[in-house]
Each structure stands twice: as C-alpha cells, then as structure tokens.
C-alpha cells in the first residue's frame, strides 16, 4: 500500500474550510447552507482523524444502511460520495481516475467506482478496517466492494437486497442485516446498541418527513429553494442518516423556505423555467450550472429519483426492519428497482404537481441502469407535455462532456421551452 501522497480527505476538509469562511462572511447565504458545509467539514474531519484517534473505519457504498454503523459508533466512509466530493471541491479527480485506469478499470465503468478504486489504490483515501456494501442499487456497486477488499486487503460483508419487495424478501434482507451486525461486532469488537439504532431510525423517519415538507414548499411559484439545492438534501441523507445535525439542518431550511414563500420570494431573481432533474449533474460543473441556472432563470423544483421519497414510515420499535423498509423507500429505487407503471406514474405526478416546464436527464454514460430508462421516462413525460433534455455526461469524469457542450444543449433547451 502506497503512502497517502495525495490525501483526498484532507483536500476536501481544506476546501470545506475555505468555502465556509467565504459563506460565513456572506450575509446573503442561507443559514442552512452554512450548516450544510459545517456538517461536511465535520464528516470529513472525523474521517481524516479516525485512524489517529484509534477509531474503526467502515467503507461503504451508496445506499448502504449507514444507520447501522452510526449505531455501533463506527466511522463511516461513503465511498461514492467521497469521490464526488473530490471532484466537487478540488475541481477534478483525474489523478484517482488515472489510478483506477492503472488498475485496469475500463473507461466504460461508472466513474465514481473507478475513482473509488483508484483512490484506495493510490492511498488517496484511508485504508478502511472493513468494507461493507450491497447491491443497492446497481451492479457496479455490487462488485466494487470486492475490489476494495482486494485493493485494501481488508475483510468485507455484502448485503443482498432482493430486487422485489414482498414481505418474504424484506424478512430475508433483515436476516442479511443481522448477519452483517454480527460481522461488524466480530471485526470491530463493538456491540450493536439497539436503543441507539432505534433513536437513529426515529430521527431518520423525521428526516424523511422533513424532506417531504421541504419538497412541498418547493411547489410554490416562484420556488424558494436554490436551483441545485437538492444536492444538499441528497448528501445529508447519504452522510448523516438519522443524525441530529440533519434534523437541525432540515428544520432550519424548512423555516427559511416558509419565510421566503410568505414573502413570495424566489430562489433566483427571475424564475422562467421550472425543471425536473433526472439523475446527478456533473459535479465538476456545479459552479457553472449554478451560474447558468441564475442567468437563465432555470431552477430544479423536483427530483423524482433523489429527493421524492416513497410512501411509508419507519417503525423505531423494530429498528432492523425499519432499516430494511427504508431500503425500499429511497427515491432511487424507483429508477433502479423494478420499473413498473407506478414509477412512471410517480414521475408524471411530480411533473404535474411541481408545475414542471421541462426535465433534464443527466445521463451518466457509465450507469447502464439509468441510461436504459431514458426512453421510458421521456415517453412518460411526453404524456404530460414535458420535454426532456438528455445530456450524455459523467458525474466526475471531465473527459466525457465539456462545459461548452452542456451550455450549448442547455441553451437550446431553454430556447425550446421559451418558444413553446
């Protein structure tokens, strides 16, 4: 294992500090946004110092139930989000993608996974004590864990989440979670604190409810939430599930949005186009996309696969089962799970209720699961007269799409919407 010559966690911590310093001094920045960056700083500082503090680190993939780790006082390292953050905060992650390529990872593979493998191989991320992962939600994720185990020489545990969601399948998955808890107890020497897990689940239930309320506020015209603010909602769910900080953040955000609605104020000076965002925009273009959104008056008002939670509640009295329930409620399962009529209906419902003018599908070329849905979603949205712009891109790999190309397509699309 190479020594960390290029510690990505330290880079993220440094970038978060700089951003925080800038926005703390800015009276126009949302208080909730300041809280969000403090949370990011906290997450990555804790991860950076974990080894020094003798803490047990579990690397985990996206949608893995991190509630379990937090209830056991294990330090989680969300691998895909960390790759994103590298791209978002340091502007590029070519070095870790190149390291992934040196491992033999083909460019067709989802870049966050390529980057993750490269980051571990080059020592840019700390070596985890264990790797825990699942088939939530894609096959890249399902295989990445084994690769990380191999690269880092650490033990690991894979949770099998059945594709369908009958009672029997949920019972099976609860068994998987219990086996994983036993694995973690064995490797970390820490016992699961079920009371703590119940508290986390109870807060997670509240977190989901608050996200739903925030989304309700976003229905207002003009919408009060920033054009790409939904990434904050996404990130706190990934990094802080059921944590007090998430509740505080969401309650603050909700109060801020309520105030803006009361004052009939929009997030951007002149709202012209209400957009639905399908999949994740390229992280390295976020500043550009924010600027373009403000210039063009385009704002994302709903994201059916990222912020629009499925129906249901989490029962804190049965915490393991609640963690399983959440695995079937997460918005992304609409895209990655069985794509029935209900998923397509949910998109149409979102388009109608959030008064969407157009949808932007950031088609991550390395994500076969999502790209396979482009036509289905386009056809479904055509039924409610919502045009869809598809942008072939990658969440972190800058070689796939340039800023100019995205600008050109976005401007064409806005012209189409304006001309209707």
């Amino acid at each position: 294992m190479k020594k960390a010559a290029n510690n990505k966690i330290q880079s993220i911590v440094r970038a978060c500090r700089i951003i925080l310093r800038m926005i703390e001094a800015d009276p126009n920045t949302r208080h909730s946004q300041k809280m969000y960056y403090r949370m990011l700083l906290q997450y990555y500082t804790r991860l950076r110092d974990a080894r020094e503090n003798g803490q047990f680190i579990a690397a985990h993939t996206v949608f893995f139930p991190a509630e379990i780790l937090l209830a056991m006082d294990i330090i989680p390292m969300h691998t895909e989000t960390t790759t994103w953050m590298t791209s978002l905060f340091t502007g590029e992650c070519g070095d870790i993608l190149a390291a992934g390529a040196r491992l033999g990872m083909a460019t067709e593979i989802c870049a966050p996974h390529r980057g993750m493998a490269g980051a571990f191989a080059s020592g840019a991320l700390p070596r985890p004590d264990v790797m825990v992962w699942s088939n939530m939600v894609c096959d890249n994720t399902a295989k990445s864990g084994e690769l990380v185990m191999d690269i880092c020489g650490c033990p690991g545990f894979f949770i099998d989440r059945p594709f369908k969601d009958s009672g029997l399948e949920k019972t099976y998955m609860a068994g998987e979670i219990r086996d994983m808890i036993a694995f973690l107890e064995d490797k970390s020497g820490k016992k699961m604190d079920y009371d703590r897990l119940s508290t986390i689940v109870e807060r997670m239930d509240r977190q989901i409810e608050l996200t739903r309320q925030v989304n309700e506020l976003r229905k207002n015209v003009p919408t009060p939430f920033s054009p790409l603010g939904f990434l904050e909602l996404l990130t706190i769910d990934y990094l802080f599930p059921g944590q007090p900080e998430s509740i505080e953040y969401l309650e603050t955000l909700k109060a801020e949005l309520e105030e803006m609605v009361k004052q009939k104020k929009g997030a951007i000076p002149k709202e012209r186009f209400r957009l639905m965002t399908l999949f994740i925009p390229p992280m390295y273009l976020m500043s550009f996309l924010e600027k373009l959104s403000v210039e063009s008056g385009a704002v994302s008002v709903i994201e059916p696969f990222f912020t629009f939670w499925g129906e249901g509640r989490l029962d804190a009295s049965r915490p393991v089962e609640a963690v399983v329930e959440k695995a079937y409620m997460i918005p992304e399962t609409r895209m990655y799970g069985p794509l029935g009529e209900s998923a397509l209906e949910a998109i149409k419902k979102c388009a109608r209720e959030w008064k969407v003018d157009g949808a932007v599908y950031y088609a991550d070329v390395g994500c076969r699961h999502s790209c396979a849905t482009i036509k289905l979603f386009k056809d479904a949205l055509a039924e409610v007269d919502v045009p869809v712009l598809t942008i072939d891109c990658d969440v972190v790999d800058q070689t796939v799409t340039s800023e100019e190309e995205v600008r050109d397509k976005m401007e064409r699309f806005f012209e189409l919407l304006e001309d209707r």
Binding site: A382, P387, V388, E411, R412, E415, L416
Partner: protein
Amino acid sequence: MLSIGIDIGSLTTKTVVLNNGRFLASVVSETLDEAEISAQVAMTKALERIDADEDPLRFVVTTGAGAKGVSFSDRSKAITTCLARGIAYCVPEARAVIDIGAESSTVVKTNERGKVLDWANHDKCAAGTGIFLQQMAKLMKLSFEEMSELSETASKGADITGTCAVFAESEVISHVHRVPPTPMPEIILGIYLSVSSRIKTMCKRIGANEKIALSGGVALHKGLVRTLEKEIGQPLFVPDDPVCVAALGAAVLAGEEIQKETAQ
C-alpha cells in the same frame, strides 16, 4: 427592414435575406478562421445580390459555431430553432427535419408553427455526417455522383459500423482488400446504410415518424437520400435549397423579432 439569417457551419457559412417574409437572396460561402469574418463576408455577398432600393435597415440573427461572437448580430439562436422555422417556411407540411451537416447530424421534431417539440443530435463522432461521407468518397476515389449511381446497382449493403468513423474506414479498407473483394456498390450501400441507421435511431428517439424533411449538404447526395427513405420507410421532403434551411430559419426569426419590436 431586411431580416437576415446567417448560419455559420464548420465548412460553409450560409446567408439568407428576407424582406417582410419575401425571399430576396441566399449565399453559401466558405467558413473562414473567424466566425465574425465568415459572417461579414457571407452577408456582404448576399446583400450584393439584392436590389439597391431595398430597405437599408436590417435585423441580423446568427446561428451555428461562434454565432454569439458576431458583433453585428442582433440575436443568436439555437440551430434547432432555426431549422424548425426554416423548414416550416419552405416545406410547411413537414413535421420533422433531418439535418446532416458537415460535422454533426440533428433531427428536429416540429409543430405546424415551426416550433421545436424535441430534438436529437449526434456530435460525438464524424460517423453519420457529411465529413464522414466525404472521407469515404475520397477513400474510394469516387465523386458523390459516382457513389450515388453505383449504390443503385447494389443488391445488398456490406456490413459497416455506424458507431465510429475511424472503425468504419478500417472496415471499408478491409472490404476492398478481401479475397474476393466486396463489390464496390455493396460497400457504398453499406456506408449509406450505416449513416441511415444512425439517423433512423435519432428519429425514433424523438418520435419523428412522419412528414420528414431533409436539409444540409448531404441532402444533395441522391444515393444517400434514397437509402435513408428506404430505411425510414417513407419519402423525404427535400427543399429546393436544402443547404440554407437553418439560415432561412434564422432570417424568419429575424422577421419575428422585427415584428415584436414594431409591436412594442
């Protein structure tokens, strides 16, 4: 007031001049290093063709590569919007237009008012574009006319990929050097089919299923037009001047802008 549309393409710059919706002139000139100069030269040539007593006032809409940087442009518009307006002007019954330019191919679905309903384009590779066909013609040492004539005699097309222009070139070379070599007409038809299947997919993707027109320089390539028609399963509308459709649309949009300003 004259409404002038300028479409700056990668090889040629097209200009169309209208006056109150009446066609006055169109010009195709070579695209030069700078968009500004290309547009200026093209517009000057077009204005030379109209009567001196036409209105000296003008409203200019530019589109294409570098259109935004043209200093004398009053508005720049997306090529998709221009294609839709242009085809509605010259082929009113069309509800979609396939534009195969030198370096990109685009399909635009339109409504009866020439508004864009949806579009799909391919700009990642030269496969399916005019440059690709030019490259193939050069490789086989044939003119476009000769290619068209030969393709008519083919009973089937050779397998040629539509994904990558470089791979396609290797495949053509491989067909030529095969023992026995693949007959030239089959290779040409194979090339046409590879372009056509790519275009057909784009049409399907946006639901451009009927009343389709064809624009761009490739519309003059008769053999390809025939193949494309067979692939799509319907005749294509080819306007009298397919090269200038986007410039015509830009001129129509210039006219709309004049009307808006007059109304204010």
